[in-house]
Amino acid sequence: MPAATNAAMAATRDLELVIRHVLAGLGHGIHAGRERGAGVEFSEYRAYAPGDEWRRVDWKLLARADRYFVREAERDSHVATWLWLDATASMAEPSRELKGVDKLWFARTALACVAAIAQRQGDAFGLAICSGGKVAFTPADRGPLHLQRVLARLAGAQPDGLPPTAQALKSSLHFTRAPSLVFAATDGLDWHGQSGPSPLSEALLRLRKLHHDVRLLTVRTRAEVDADFPSGAAYRDPEQETGLHRFTKADRVAYLERSAAHFGAIATSCRQHDIVHHEACIEQPLADVLRRWLQKAGAR
């Protein structure tokens, strides 16, 4: 899939269409047909909702009742999938190559795809959006309607403000009782706070210590990686009120060093805590990035 597809996908407002496109590109490499929602132990019937797979519809019951019902199975595991979206102001950084593509779009679409996969597998999935110093929670649930809700929340996320405070995060980590998968998409810029680790990274590390499967995707733009900005202009950090920064050719080396040190520290920290970590550029094809991110977890 060429990289320009990202721009084409970013142009459409229909997140579901994008998901279908991306997942079609993924092929069968991800979920391996383990559909727990359609397990062998029958639990109950429920009314059909758009998005349910046709093969789970009980055709005999349709013939009897003239209504669509879907067989729900007793689940063997109660693994929930949590989608963790960083929607701070720095996520608004656009690609300088692809029009309409920014970091938030990339992270949001990747998480939407994960949600769709989880829904297909019958997993419960919830959403946490970190934006404007707060955490917006969508409780974990199953089903296509829930997917619609989560996709709407993802589509409505706006890049704003600072990452949530330690207090806000602490009150939000109530899902940690049950074992879960945590898919976190961030730009990693808030990984370090003013002194030591930031509340965001601490929360993810704590989740990992509680034996949750944390999978981190750090997204950057190609320009950020290569320090490919117009020199001579003044730059302002979107997450800081004051302070201007300059960029000249002489500052490029120092920038690359500091950037490499920052993201190197993230990689080291993830390795130490056995967190799946994948670095991506938002100019890369989304399907490739998604495949590698998910495959890394499978390889562990």
């Binding site: 950084e93 810029l189 950020e224 003044a234 730059y235 920064h245 300059r246 500052d251 120092a254 920038y255």
Partner: protein, 349 residues
């Protein structure tokens, strides 16, 4: 411009202040957002000055406010003078003191008599508080009688010292001027030569009779002995004093300097008459003498008004005051001020 109030209009350049304030706008140089700006070195904020008008309505109101304020100051007068005596410095001091005491104005403030006193009074009568009285004490001939009785908003009394009665010389014969000369012996000759030259000057119609002491009709006393004081009873309309007379004549310390026809003269009024002094006294050459003659003739053209005013009491004319305080300007000022404050408040909130 006899009144000082129009000078307030010189404050009009103050309008430049609000214009300056409203034109100036500082704007930070446009900075782009960059998520990884934290990896870049900090830069000093650069200011870009963009000139453009801000709050035009407020600017308009402020300019109007200033203009109206200046106009109000220019037309509004706060009366501050009380009872006043206008004293002619050349008048007899004893006589003037008598007149002042007689009018009951001994405690009043005294100011020098300005030229054309009645017109000046009429121009500046707004300065005097209501109920203030004015007394003018002057020699005869110092104040011209206006064609119509001036209307004053205050009680003005004019007391004129009668001049000694001089019979006018017949017009056909040469006009004779009596001159009293008292000079050091080495200078007497120069003075006599000067007046002999004056006799010949022009068409010869002016004659100068030189005497050693003045009489009642003496017009000019030449006193060129600075070391000596003149006799106390010597009086004349004009005195010529030799250079270096400032010690004997304290009035000269306030003398006015004029330069006419290349001759620099200083003059001051005293009870004995108008004192003149110059470094050119007595002229040493014919050229200086001719210049002095020209200058003196020019000065003598209008020594007195055609119709001197006699003593007179001007009653207070209530309708005369043309300086009604401009109330509507004050109200306009107040309204503009309120508007300006409101607009400023709206802008802030």
């Amino acid at each position: 411009m006899t009144s000082s109030y129009p000078w307030w209009w010189l404050l009009l350049p103050l309008l430049l202040l609000p214009i300056w304030w409203h034109r100036q706008k500082r704007q930070r140089l446009d900075a782009q957002f960059l998520a990884t700006a934290r990896f870049l070195p900090a830069a000093a904020p650069q200011q870009l000055r963009v000139w453009q008008w801000r709050d035009r309505l407020l600017l308009l109101v402020r300019c109007l406010l200033l203009v109206v304020l200046i106009a109000w100051l220019a037309v509004t007068v706060l009366p501050w003078r009380g009872d006043t005596v206008l004293v002619d410095a050349g008048a007899d001091q004893a006589w003037a003191a008598r007149q002042i005491a007689d009018a009951g104005m001994a405690g009043a403030r005294r100011i020098d008599l300005p030229p054309d006193a009645l017109a000046w009074l009429r121009h500046n009568q707004r300065d005097w508080r209501a109920g203030a009285r004015l007394l003018i004490v002057a020699r005869e001939g110092q104040i011209g009688m206006p064609a119509r009785a001036p209307q004053f908003g205050h009680a003005v009394e004019l007391r004129v010292q009668a001049a000694p009665n001089v019979p006018p010389a017949p017009a056909t014969s040469p006009v004779s001027h009596r001159v009293a000369l008292s000079a050091a012996p080495e200078r007497v000759q120069a003075w006599r030569a000067l007046f002999a030259a004056f006799d010949q000057a022009g068409d010869g119609a002016q004659r100068y009779a030189i005497a050693g002491a003045p009489v009642a009709s003496t017009e000019l006393i030449v006193w060129d002995t600075p070391a000596l004081a003149p006799p106390a009873d010597w009086r004349a309309p004009h005195w010529w004093l030799g250079a270096g007379s400032e010690k004997a004549w304290p009035e000269l310390s306030k003398a006015t300097t004029i330069t006419i026809n290349g001759v620099t003269l200083r003059y001051a009024d005293s009870p004995r008459g108008r004192l003149w002094t110059s470094a050119a006294f007595p002229p040493q050459d014919a050229e200086t003498a001719r210049a002095l003659y020209e200058a003196w003739r020019l000065l003598a053209v209008a020594p007195a008004p055609a119709y001197p005013a006699p003593s007179h009491k001007f009653a207070m004319a209530s309708a005369a005051a043309d300086a009604k305080p401009a109330y509507w300007i004050a109200w306009l000022l107040l309204a503009l001020f309120l508007l300006e404050r409101s607009l400023t408040h709206v802008r802030r909130s």
